[in-house]
C-alpha cells in the first residue's frame, strides 16, 4: 500500500527556488510562466491497513514543517 505526500511552502511564504526556476524558464524563452512553486513528493510504502490519520500524524511530526509548509496526502 502506497501513499504520496506532497509538501509545498505555504502561500505567502517566499519560495526563492521557485523564483529561480521561473527566471530560468524565462531565460529559455518560455513566456507566460506567471509563477513557479517548488515542493517535494514523499512516497511511503505502508503496511496494509495504515490509516490516512497515521500518515497525517507523520506529516505533522516530521514530513512537513507546518510553520512554513502545507501538505497533501494521496493514499
Amino acid at each position: 500500500m502506497k501513499a504520496k505526500v506532497y509538501v509545498m511552502l505555504k502561500e505567502g511564504v517566499l519560495d526563492p527556488q521557485g523564483a529561480a526556476v521561473k527566471h530560468a524558464l524565462g531565460a529559455l524563452g518560455f513566456d507566460g510562466v506567471e509563477d513557479v512553486r517548488q515542493g517535494k513528493v514523499i512516497e511511503l510504502d505502508l503496511a496494509a491497513g495504515t490509516t490516512e490519520a497515521t500518515v497525517r500524524e507523520m506529516c505533522e511530526k516530521l514530513l512537513a514543517n507546518t510553520v512554513i509548509e502545507s501538505y497533501r496526502i494521496e493514499m
Binding site: 517566499l14 526563492p16 514543517n65
Partner: protein
C-alpha cells in the same frame, strides 16, 4: 557551570563550541545524539552548527527528532538554558522550543562571511556582555538562514522584546532582519551567526567571546 554540547552526525562546530564554553570557564560534556539522557546537574545545552544528518528532509528536522532532543526539550521545559547556533537554531525551531523556521537564503547561495549584528534591547543572560544597540561583527556560514515568522508572531516577538540580534545589512532575506531570538522564558537562544568563531584574537576578533563571558559571569563558573 556545566555545559553539554550535543553531537549529531554532520555536526562540525561542536568542538569550536566546546572550546568557547571551556575558555569562558565552563565544564563541558560532549553528548552523542543517540544518548537518551543529559548529564546530571547540567546548566546549559549547546546545539552546534553543522549539517546534522546531511540536512536531509529539512535542516535540523531529523536531529530534532533524535533521542537526545527529547531530553533537551525536557531540560528547556524545566527552565534549563539552551544555546543553538546555526544548525542548532534550525534544530530548536524544528523542536518548537523557538518560534518560526529557517528557509533557503533569498539569493539561494551559501553565504560565509563576517556580518554586523545589532544587539537588541532584549533582557537575557546571553546578552549580558553587550550593551543594547551595540554593533558586533560575527561570521555567518549558512545556506538556510532566512528566518520566517508570520506577522502575528513577529508582533508578539517585538512586544515581548525577544529579538536578540538583528542584521545591520540583511544577508539572507530574514523577516525583520532577525538573526537570533529567545524563548518566552528568555533562557533558550537560537542564532544563525557564529559567536564561537569570533572568540579569540586568532579568529580575527573577540566580539563573540563577550557572549560566553557574559552568561558565564551570570551563571557562575565551576
Amino acid at each position: 557551570m556545566h555545559a553539554a554540547v550535543i553531537v549529531f552526525p554532520g555536526s562540525n562546530c561542536d568542538r569550536d563550541l566546546a572550546v568557547a564554553f571551556q575558555r569562558a570557564g565552563a565544564k563541558v560534556s560532549m553528548v552523542w545524539h543517540k544518548d537518551t539522557d543529559l548529564p546530571d546537574g547540567l546548566d546549559m545545552v549547546g546545539i552546534p552548527g553543522g549539517f546534522s544528518f546531511g540536512d536531509y528532509l529539512r535542516c535540523g528536522a531529523i536531529a530534532a527528532n533524535s533521542p537526545i532532543c527529547r531530553s533537551v526539550v525536557a531540560h528547556a521545559e524545566r527552565g534549563g538554558y539552551v544555546l543553538g547556533i546555526c544548525n542548532g537554531f534550525q534544530v530548536l525551531t524544528e523542536t518548537g522550543l523557538l518560534p518560526g523556521a529557517l528557509r533557503r537564503n533569498a539569493n539561494l547561495k551559501y553565504i560565509c562571511k563576517p556580518v554586523e549584528l545589532r544587539v537588541e534591547d532584549c533582557d537575557t543572560v546571553y546578552l549580558r556582555g553587550y550593551k543594547p544597540e551595540q554593533v558586533i561583527s560575527v561570521p555567518i556560514a549558512h545556506h538556510d538562514g532566512n528566518y520566517y515568522v508570520d506577522d502575528a508572531k513577529l508582533a508578539q516577538l517585538r512586544e515581548e522584546a525577544r529579538i536578540a540580534f538583528s542584521y545591520v545589512d540583511n544577508p539572507n532575506g530574514s523577516v525583520a532582519d532577525i538573526a537570533g531570538v529567545v524563548s518566552k522564558n528568555r533562557r533558550v537562544l537560537g542564532m544563525m551567526p557564529h559567536p564561537e568563531r569570533m572568540a579569540e584574537v586568532a579568529h580575527g576578533g573577540t566580539d563573540g567571546k563577550a557572549m560566553f563571558d557574559g552568561f558565564m559571569e551570570a551563571l557562575a563558573p565551576v
